[in-house]
């Protein structure tokens, strides 16, 4: 065809008319010249030419987009069909929307969080480097161990030429003091080597970056602000540059503001957490010359022509040399690294991919369901189709109608799904701050493209199945079915049964996954952190060392604070701990038992370190197993006493000896601490097993931060305000942070498990409902098809129970086969989510049993209604239905 003619059809039509007229005239003239009368000559010319209109039409269709025309007709037709059965349409669209929406949302999350590059130039050349140790001392940690300053300087030297390395300590805190009427607050902060931002390739939007001269002990204190903090606390004031802000009661000059897009995340720190950035050289210069205090993470930008393998082997060799030179057990013997992106998001890979897989399952089930419904629809219209085929309607033409229909359904589902995805993502960003880079999530062109792909997939998938079902060429047979149908539509029912098997199988996989995740979540929630968690409130205070520099000052402050808190009406008991159970890392120490022979070189006893007030164990109900707690007068220079947790005793005194009265040292052999008591274990993180812990008197001096823990008989949250007021009265410049109950703490640290399990459970329930609907549909269809046959059976004396059993068996068979397939599929699927499970076996027999029972109950329920109806058929009426 030609577009020139297509767009000027009227003109080219006129030309043709003229041409035809010429032809007729020529022919007429020729006839006249043969001696025929003019009238007759003209008539003959017309006869010879044939119908000019036909030529017109021929040319017209040659020059038109017939398929476009046909498409329009198909679309109109499909719309009308869909509108005629709104129930079917709405359900199908909703089902597809759910599948597409879920898949698009998860795809967007996976792409933004796991796949899209970090917001730094050439970010693929950026790597995170950690230390590594593979022995019993650090068995409670994962493969990444923080880096010490001394080793880092060695690494930097070794890497010269092949990579530029920078250092960051992303887990610092600072008090921002009350200034200009603003409240004091505790913020997350980071200390970095001066070249940190340069290595990442980030430039401040305001002011300047750190220079080497800022990164020294004697330098004037300088600070860079995160964009969010600058906007929030300083209302985007550009004059902030050069002014001083107070961090931990010390003045810092603001030298720059980081760009809004800047964010830093690692395996051990959250993205967008750090509000201010200071230099390591100024903050903690003493750490740069020692090898046993691990406070950092190293980042490296590879130079051109260097591979990461080369760099890490160099760094690793250097670390082995460091270990050889400093055989202290606290010095780690190896280094590991990953790309910075992997470092930030590796922890979310399995859960996010598992959720993506779950949503894909839902999409597949949705497609199967819609296909099954379409097949049913075609089956119901098979006679009409057969008649049309017999009258010459092309098979493709008939097929195209259902294709258009399935495409329309998928497209509408895609549109609604996109809305659903948008809502789901909004909700996700609001509820899951704990996922690194979650703030980068947005629906973009890729998401739209993916939606289009998903729509096409859904449409083609359903269409393909429908087409497979429509292969039936026996027009005559179909027409004959009308007389006496016995096995009528059996073939289509077979196809639908096949679809059902797939649907049930996927449902089983989802159910098993949901069951395991849910069980794991419940296990996690019911884990005992070591103390009763009901009605316990925590508040954290950090005293700035600048103002509480004297050893006695913090002790006096905490003592006074505790006495006043105990006096607040409603407080049942109150206690202090440097870090409340369940609220995370509180610091650790390598200890030696003085009475024991020295341990082999390189082996240490690593214990969690906590500072508590003497009444802590009683107030928080930590069971005292042996010995005593601290005495009130065991403070300051008389505080060389410790209490060990049960597992610490097991670790340090494996020989069943009595630890009471023995001594431990913390690095310095001249100050031994006497063990005076043994208490029960508590967990520092609910998701991890308890770690051996030792307790020291908080009033021993030197500890400047503490968590106030209060227990009340009820409504403990209402105590937060009075206690904050007390702290404010004692030091108005002191921010209070971490105000939450222990229950909230636990909810917070189990949120990801809760999220994963509930989402997969929701998907599984939806899948179950869809499968039930599918099963019901097939059985009901079969019963309708076999009405006459059943009528005959009953008339011939078949018992109602037989009929019931017959139909039930027919419906349950695909469910049983699907169950078998699903269980087989689950074996593979549970392997994938194994790492997400907490104290739950991937082949948990209870979960598998519950899934089987649920599924069979669902299948029975779906089949029993039509089966019951069939068994109640009145044979007379059934036989008359023809």
């Amino acid at each position: 065809m030609s577009f020139r003619r297509f767009f000027s059809r009227r003109r080219s039509d006129a030309e043709l008319e003229e041409e035809i007229q010429t032809h007729i005239a020529e022919e007429t003239a020729e006839n006249i010249s043969r001696g025929v009368a003019p009238e007759e000559a003209r008539r003959r010319a017309y006869v010879r030419f044939g119908n000019p209109q036909l030529v017109h039409e021929h040319l017209w269709s040659q020059n038109t987009l017939t398929w476009l025309d046909g498409l329009g007709r198909d679309l109109r037709y499909a719309m009308r069909t869909l509108r005629r059965s709104p129930g079917f349409s709405v359900i199908s669209i909703f089902v597809v929307a759910l599948g597409i929406g879920g898949t698009v949302a998860m795809f967007t999350v996976v792409r933004n969080v796991l796949l899209s590059p970090l917001p730094y130039p050439d970010s693929k050349n950026l790597y995170a480097v950690w230390e590594h140790e593979d022995n019993d001392t650090f068995k409670h940690f994962n493969a990444n161990l923080p880096v010490d300053g001394g080793s880092f300087l060695e690494w930097q030297k070794a890497a010269q030429g092949s990579a530029e390395m920078a250092l960051i300590s992303p887990w610092q805190n600072n008090n921002v003091s009350a200034e200009g009427g603003k409240l004091p607050e505790l913020i997350d902060s980071a200390s970095v080597s001066w070249n940190f931002f340069r290595v990442l390739g980030v430039q401040p939007v305001l002011g300047r970056d750190f220079t080497a001269s800022d990164d020294r002990k004697e330098a004037q204190a300088a600070v860079m602000l995160s964009h969010g903090f600058w906007v929030r606390r300083y209302s985007s004031d550009r004059n902030i540059l050069g002014r001083s802000i107070y961090l931990d009661a010390q003045p810092y000059t603001v030298i720059g503001v980081l760009p809004e897009t800047f964010t830093f995340a690692s395996a051990m720190s959250q993205s967008n957490a750090q509000q201010v950035w200071t230099t390591i050289g100024h903050e903690m210069p003493e750490l740069m010359s020692i090898f046993d205090d691990h406070e950092f993470l190293a980042v490296a930008r590879l130079a051109h022509g260097t591979t990461f393998a080369q760099l890490i082997s160099r760094v690793d060799t250097t670390q082995k040399r460091v270990k050889a030179a400093h055989p202290d057990p606290a010095v780690h013997p190896a280094a590991v690294g990953h790309s910075m992106l992997d470092d930030a998001v590796a922890a979310y890979k399995t859960p996010l991919y598992a959720l993506l897989a779950a949503t894909c399952c839902v999409l597949l089930i949705a497609c199967l369901n819609v296909a099954s419904l379409l097949v049913a629809r075609i089956a119901a219209r098979s006679k009409e189709h057969a008649i049309r085929a017999a009258l010459g309607g092309s098979r493709l033409r008939l097929l195209r109608e259902s294709l258009t229909e399935s495409f329309l359904l998928a497209a509408a589902g895609g549109g609604v799904g996109l809305l659903l995805a948008w809502g789901a993502l909004r909700w996700l960003v609001l509820t899951r701050h704990d996922i690194n880079r979650i703030e980068t999530i947005h629906l973009d062109g890729f998401a739209f493209a993916f939606t289009v792909l998903a729509v096409l997939f859904a449409a083609c998938f359903s269409a393909l199945i429908v087409a497979m079902g429509a292969e039936d060429k026996r027009i005559l047979a179909t027409l004959q079915e009308s007389s006496r149908s016995h096995t009528g539509g059996g073939k289509r029912a077979t196809l639908r049964r096949g679809l059902l098997v797939g649907e049930v199988g996927l449902t089983v996989v989802l159910l098993v996954g949901a069951g395991l995740l849910l069980k794991s979540y419940l296990r996690l929630r019911n884990t005992d952190i070591g103390i009763p968690t009901d009605n316990v409130l925590t508040l954290r205070v950090m005293l700035p060392e600048a103002r509480y520099s004297d050893v006695a000052k913090p002790a006096a402050f905490f003592d006074q604070l505790l006495q006043r808190v105990k006096g607040v009406p409603g407080v049942e008991s109150a206690a202090l701990n440097t870090r409340a159970p369940g609220q995370g890392w509180g610091g650790d120490s390598l200890i030696t038992v003085t009475e024991h022979p020295p341990l082999p070189k390189g082996v240490g006893l690593d214990l969690q370190r906590r500072g508590i007030d003497p009444g802590y164990f009683a107030a928080m109900k930590v069971p005292l197993l042996k010995g005593r707690t601290f005495r009130e007068d065991e403070r300051l220079d008389r505080a060389n006493v410790v209490v060990l947790s049960e597992s610490a005793v097991k670790l340090c005194f494996p020989g069943n000896e009595d630890p009471i009265g023995k001594h431990i040292t913390l690095g310095d052999p001249k100050t031994p601490y006497e063990i005076v008591g043994i208490v029960g274990d508590t967990r520092w993180d609910i998701t991890l097993p308890p770690m051996p812990t030792f307790y020291m008197p908080l009033y021993g001096g030197g500890m400047t931060s503490a968590t106030v823990m209060v227990r009340a008989s009820h409504n403990v949250e209402s105590l937060a305000m009075p206690i904050q007021r007390i702290i404010g009265e004692m030091d108005p410049d002191l921010p209070v942070s971490g105000v939450m109950t222990l229950r909230e703490t636990i909810a917070h640290s189990t949120v990801s498990s809760q999220f994963d399990s509930l989402i997969v459970l929701a998907f599984a329930v939806i899948a179950l409902l869809l499968a039930a609907a599918g099963l019901y549909g097939v059985v009901a269809y079969l019963v309708t098809q076999r009405t006459a046959e059943i009528g005959v059976r009953i008339a011939l004396g078949a018992r109602r129970e037989d009929v019931l059993g017959l139909v039930l068996k027919d419906g349950l068979r695909p469910a049983l086969i699907g169950l078998g397939c699903g269980l087989a599929g689950s074996v593979a699927a549970v392997r994938l989510i194994e790492s997400m499970l907490y104290e739950t076996q991937p082949f948990d027999p209870v979960v598998f049993a519950v899934v089987m029972v649920t599924l069979l109950a669902m299948a029975m329920l779906a089949c029993i209604v039509p089966a019951w109806k069939a068994s109640r058929l009145d044979p007379m009426q059934a036989l008359r239905t023809e």
């Binding site: 043709l16 041409e19 010429t22 030529v55």
Partner: protein, 88 residues
Amino acid sequence: MGKKKPADNEMLKGTMDMLILRTLVAGDAHGHTIAKVIERTSDDVLEVEEGSLYPALHRLEDRGWVSSYWGTSENNRKAKFYRITAAG
């Protein structure tokens, strides 16, 4: 309407195109002349159906194998003449 099978139709189209092009090699001509020449050269074995001649001519023109212009026929009528192109 004829109940020709699609395969036959195809052959007819190709043959018709060749016949037209061969006719035009001898010189430019309009529709009527082309029909006559084809009939004559095939010793009246082939009867050209005008119903397919014009669509064929237009198709050839779209493909760029023939070009057309309005001229005057031997009988002084305004007629559309077809000329074979290099591609044709």
